[in-house]
Symmetry: C2
Subunit: 329 residues, 2 copies
Amino acid sequence: MSPTSEYVVGVDLGGTNILVGTMAPDGTTPIAVRTEPTLAAEGSDAVVARMCRLVDEVIADTCAATGATRAQIRGVGVGAPGPLDRERGIIHVAPNLGWHDLPLRDLMTERLGLPATLENDANCATLGEWWIGAARGARHVVGITIGTGIGGGLILNGRLFHGASDVAGELGHATIDSTGRRCKCGNYGCLEAYASGPAIAERAREALAGGEASRITALVDGDLARVTAAIVYEASQEGDEIAREVVRETARFLGTGVANILNTYNPEVVVLAGGVAQAGEALFGPLRAEVRRRAFKPAVDACRIVPGALGGNAGAVGAIASFLAQTRL
Amino acid sequence: MSPTSEYVVGVDLGGTNILVGTMAPDGTTPIAVRTEPTLAAEGSDAVVARMCRLVDEVIADTCAATGATRAQIRGVGVGAPGPLDRERGIIHVAPNLGWHDLPLRDLMTERLGLPATLENDANCATLGEWWIGAARGARHVVGITIGTGIGGGLILNGRLFHGASDVAGELGHATIDSTGRRCKCGNYGCLEAYASGPAIAERAREALAGGEASRITALVDGDLARVTAAIVYEASQEGDEIAREVVRETARFLGTGVANILNTYNPEVVVLAGGVAQAGEALFGPLRAEVRRRAFKPAVDACRIVPGALGGNAGAVGAIASFLAQTRL
């Protein structure tokens, strides 16, 4: 590694964890990654201080590993939950963090003495998978992130599409059942109300309410409050029938949402980023079948539906890509 | 009008009518418009011959009105139902016309001796409203056309967005109720199955099945088979309560679809093109209210939801705009 190389730091700020890493601007050199719990309850000052400390540590790791100096760090890209104002670098509302109108970008720049950019976290994950992951090289890409909520990002004509006010890509809040389950956003029948992590766990608990034997119950020592989507996927992979039915249902809900995406955006790749990749073919098989049933054939034929390749790093990698895109001359 | 001006002919090919008109390339000079029934049952040869004769007549009208010669006609833009292949100028499937893999663009060029382009009809209507209609000057526009089916067009970053295989914008075939009404496309719960012209008429017939008195029944002399969306709108404007409830329901279905559009595309304008404009505030009032209930506030605040300004001419105007865009050097 040449000591004259430059590096960019990426920050993925989640409701549960902060993940920070560095890469070279060509996307080929992941140097250092650190992660810590967000501890949002401590308030925004404490969380911002923690993020900045992690950035400083990752910069130190990078310099130690490469012989670079801090002057070779170009800046910091931050991916954060929205709605946010990219131009002004402000997070409008982040319910899981309890933040309102926080000028996060300028706070980071002041404390670190480095240029910073802000971008929606699901947009970052999509951008990361497009830059060096499962959607590399495609012209039109839709990314879906499934966690506590369901987010999305749109890459159209090779560029992230933000819409008129940075809301574009809120795929978790497209209605798939107009009189269906109430969503946290206030709407009824949003995809997120059926297929987010907590929604998957909730549907598993409902399926187990009758007291049937299931591997799910064993995995949580009988404490159904501890059921998570990851545990449902694990039980499904071990062949548990109730878990498999919950996964098949999840695939049908997600398949409906993805079919809508195919009929309206007609992308080349739909990438499901994050932990959902671990669900494997038990999810992706019936999901693709549901999409084939619902979407137009020319749209189905044009599109790959794939799990992300970057796992939990997609957001930080995409935050770096977003920094590069926003600071391009 | 200078005799050195140039003109472009636009053709809007519908399942029921063909409409042909000319304009100058700056969009300011509508010269001549002619329309005739499509008579699709006569087969594709007869329909193509009819389109070409109408084009020739409109060119003659234009030359007579302006003193131009045929050499000043730059070409013909055709808007047609899809799915179609724009690059190759082929209509893959047009169910209402009974056409399969028809090379319409080249057939027109051969018969007319003029360059021609092909574009999806709903894309054309959107393009027309964006060029000189209700969405003029906006950067991100979603158009929805409501007729026998529901179509859509997306203008993103000031350009029509086609997706990977010309399917983008099939907004009528986005699911709003995953276990709902069967759609002609084979899917369940598509917006089109609730809010297309025939779906509105069908819901009115269902509402009248109990035999209640209604202005709708009077307007069709008791023959419910003759109920159309236009008659429902007319009865609603005359204060008929059953018609008003059907219109309110229609507004809720369309509002759900439009809210999905706001949360995913975040456009500046949603324009409902075609005959639906005649429904007026009885439709647009509750539609906007449903959108406010369902979509994110920053997306709602950024977006106007308006009827088209070009009425039945939107498709032909947009076909002219599409010709200009496709033949731009």
